[in-house]
């Protein structure tokens, strides 16, 4: 029997509301199939399954709020015979301790839509016990956020409640209140999610910053020539070229592509570049362009266009939300020359591009005007040092000098 649990939806999302099932008991599913839609503060996420199997039992009702890691369904492995009747095994036994408290399940509305007004709950509750160990700062933050500190599970030393625990609980309670409400409230929930992730980043990650001004003469000329040959429907953007260069450079620097977890760096299995995409109504999402280094320039351009379109439409896949291993932000369209980013935890690096501008450029003793771009690296000093970061930017610069090889 396969336990299917709600997968991670990114570091700043620890719960979602089940909107609908795309499967029913008896259905055969293949790895990568969309099996459910789960709503979060950022998007309606299409949840993919990562194993083949046959659906045995659905364990969550649409309208229910689920914590990441919570059991959603049981599936039979290919060839497996059902050994028990549905419901024979008490499914609650398999539920993780972080289960959202029983007040949460919202009775689905008759039409299956999510009912607004789910009671605001602080998740991760435990039975009230002796006074919790917590720092004065955490207690103060709890009062500000109206979070009951006694109800929290501490992740600090000896189970002490940390500021992080408080803010996560506050964000959860906040997003619970927001789910199912107006779009304006959704924005508020997104703001809260961004606030929580970025505050954690600046509190925990010792950032170092490097930048390099890179001549884009060859890249710009090559792109103009290439696009002149192409119909408008297959033209390339400079940002696709830059993403391709970043993906190839990261192959040589696996220590910038991964996660800081439990006090150590864990390299990522693939180069899944989180692309920061601004939303028209405000806020941003950085979903993953998966296996970016394995996609050729054309494929990467198509994948980027598709990702931007689906992000703006609010329809992303769980794999895109859960596992970006590094982030690229491009603020060139907004007209700034450089951006020094805030790393999205638990990632360890963020690469930023500014606008391509014409500047006097000296090369081989001659001075002429050249289009240049400022590429920056914000990296986690726990995971890498400036020396490595500098070599990464140099590799990126060299790759952008040979656009025809990208």
């Amino acid at each position: 029997m396969i336990d299917f649990r709600l997968p991670s939806l990114g570091a700043d999302m620890d719960a979602g509301t089940l909107l609908e099932w795309k499967i029913k008991p008896g259905d055969t599913v293949k790895r990568g199939d969309i099996i459910a839609i789960v709503d979060t503060a950022k998007a309606a996420v299409e949840v993919e399954i990562w194993q083949d199997g046959t659906v045995f039992e659905l364990l969550a009702e649409p309208g229910t709020r689920l914590a990441v890691g919570e059991l959603m369904a049981n599936l039979l492995e290919p060839g497996e015979q059902p050994g028990a009747q549905p419901g024979a095994q008490p499914s609650s036994a398999a539920r993780p301790a972080s289960r959202v408290p029983p007040t949460t399940p919202v009775p689905p509305a008759a039409d299956g839509a999510v009912k607004p007004g789910a009671p605001p709950v602080s998740t991760g509750m435990q039975a009230p016990g002796p006074r919790k160990a917590a720092s004065p700062a955490a207690r103060r933050r709890a009062r500000e956020c109206q979070v009951d500190i006694e109800q929290l599970t501490g992740t600090g030393p000896h189970g002490a409640v940390t500021i992080d625990d408080v803010e996560r609980a506050a964000a959860r309670a906040k997003s619970t209140r927001e789910i199912g409400k107006e779009a304006g409230d959704r924005q508020l929930a997104m703001r809260q999610a961004i606030a929580s992730a970025m505050a954690r980043s600046k509190r925990e990650i010792p950032h170092y910053y490097l930048f390099e001004t890179i001549s884009m003469r060859r890249a710009v000329d090559w792109l103009a020539e290439e696009n002149a040959r192409r119909p408008i429907t297959t033209r390339l953007l400079l940002s696709a070229l830059q993403l391709r260069a970043v993906a190839l450079a990261l192959r040589q620097f696996p220590d910038l592509n991964g996660f800081w977890q439990d006090g150590a760096f864990v390299p990522a299995a693939g180069i899944h570049i989180g692309v920061a995409i601004a939303l028209r109504q405000g806020g941003l999402i950085a979903p993953a362009l998966r296996d970016a280094d394995k996609k050729g320039l054309d494929e990467l351009m198509q994948a980027l266009a598709d990702l931007v379109k689906r992000t703006r439409a609010g329809s992303l896949k769980s794999s895109e939300m859960s596992d970006p291993s590094v982030t690229v932000t491009n603020l060139g369209d907004q007209g700034v020359e450089a951006v020094f980013g805030v790393i999205y935890p638990p990632q360890v690096a963020l690469i930023g591009f500014g606008r391509v501008v014409e500047r006097p450029w000296a090369e081989q003793g001659a001075l002429r005007a050249a289009p240049v771009v400022t590429a920056s690296l914000a990296a986690d000093h726990r995971a890498s040092d400036g020396h490595r970061g500098a070599r990464f930017l140099a590799a990126l610069r060299e790759l952008l000098q040979k656009p025809e090889d990208l």
Partner: protein, 81 residues
Amino acid sequence: MTEQALRELVMSILKSIAPEVEEGELVAGKALRDQVDLDSMDWLNFLVAIHERSAVDIPESDYARLATLDDIVTYLVRKTR
């Protein structure tokens, strides 16, 4: 297509990409990308949609001539004539 029809086409495509745009608030002679928040992906999608619905080919070397709403309409009028 008449100039008016082309203008309406361009506006409807623009609104599909940037729904917050109100035609009355656009200054027709001022650069579009200074008035509407269009990044390079939006801009490409905008031009692709114009190409698909007017059958006008827009080489990249012409992008610079398409700054304002008036520029775009004039360009399309000339190309569809």
